[in-house]
């Protein structure tokens, strides 16, 4: 079952997650430029877990795919996925 959308705590956590992910985008881009895949995997891993548990499925799938691509060290795929992450973030609502 999806978490209750009207729960104030979960609503607050969704807002917090969206803010954090916006900030993480810069870190992810820097990590990609430096071929720092462990950082990409770490940030993507926590995004996938947190977004999914909070019912933000689109963001969660993007995070999990990013984690897989980062684990493979696939820079091109990561770059493309970061573009999708920007779009998913713009669509997401707290």
């Amino acid at each position: 079952m999806s978490p209750l959308p009207d729960d104030p705590l979960e609503r607050g956590l969704r807002e917090k997650l969206l803010g954090r992910t916006r900030a993480d985008l810069a870190r992810l881009n820097r990590a990609l430029d430096a071929c720092d895949f462990p950082t990409i995997v770490h940030l993507a891993h926590r995004l996938g877990g947190a977004a999914g548990a909070l019912g933000l499925e689109d963001l969660s799938v993007t995070g999990r795919e990013l984690e897989r691509e980062g684990a493979r060290g696939d820079a091109a795929a990561v770059r493309a996925r970061l573009g999708l992450l920007v779009e998913a973030l713009a669509r997401a609502k707290g």
């Binding site: 079952m1 978490p3 705590l9 979960e10 956590l13 917090k16 997650l17 954090r20 770490h42 891993h45 926590r46 996938g48 877990g49 947190a50 977004a51 999914g52 548990a53 909070l54 969660s60 999990r64 984690e67």
Partner: protein
């Protein structure tokens, strides 16, 4: 249940904690493997939930540590992937259950409750009499026999004894004794527990002569220890 929850992401930690607390559990949350070890050394829990991927300690190291010291503590891992190999690894290393992330509230809570039941923390199993060496403990009657003779004790002392026998080998914190035996921790003087434990040690002769010793763990609580390898 008293649950130790290890999750390095503060958002996921807060969310899982709120789900568990909303279901009546008492949660201690930590965000690193080393912090989890520190808490496990000074407090006792009925269930541990660990994220498999924490930055400072591998899930394997954490599990090995727990299994060396607290064999009966039920451990559930949260894994990121539902890959067969990873799940098999987690279970083969001694975890009692796993849950795949992202966590889903109802499934997560149901797994926690099921693990608690399997560990004998609820239900009919808790009422069955059991033997530990020369001691026979009967939870339903709140009586304890030593070598066949009933030992005189108050119902409160019997409750303390029952908890210590169930958790034998593990540290039982004062907080846990307050919570599970008295139910109103804020109203108690810490000497209340110490007095009950002291009387219990004397009444049940838990000084090693029958194979079990009730020891104080400085500042933390008590541990009922096996005093002879053959016991």
């Amino acid at each position: 249940m008293r649950i130790l929850l290890l999750e390095d992401d503060p958002i996921q930690l807060e969310l899982a904690r709120s789900w568990l607390e909303g279901n009546g559990h008492a949660v201690t949350g930590v965000s690193s493997g080393k912090a989890a070890l520190k808490v496990l050394e000074r407090d006792s829990f009925e269930l541990a939930i660990f994220d498999w991927m924490v930055p400072d300690l591998s899930g394997e190291e954490l599990l090995r540590w727990v299994r060396q010291r607290q064999k009966r503590l039920p451990v559930m891992f949260a894994t990121a992937r539902d890959e067969e190999l990873e799940i098999a690894t987690v279970l083969n290393l001694g975890a009692d259950d796993y849950v795949v992330k992202p966590l889903r509230r109802l499934e997560f809570l149901a797994r926690v409750d099921a693990l608690g039941r399997r560990a004998g923390l609820s239900g009919a199993e808790l009422e069955e009499a059991f033997d530990i060496g020369p001691y026979r403990i009967d939870p339903r009657r709140r009586t304890i026999c030593l070598e066949g003779r009933a030992v005189k004790m108050t119902p409160r002392m019997a409750d303390v004894a029952l908890l210590l026998f169930r958790k034998r080998g593990e540290l039982v914190s004062r907080a846990q004794l307050y919570e599970q035996v008295w139910g109103h921790p804020e109203a108690l003087d810490s000497r209340t527990v110490d007095t009950h434990v002291s009387r219990l040690r004397q009444a049940l002769e838990l000084d090693g002569r029958h194979g079990w010793r009730l020891s104080a763990v400085y500042h933390h609580g008590y541990r009922l220890e096996n005093a002879s390898p053959a016991a």
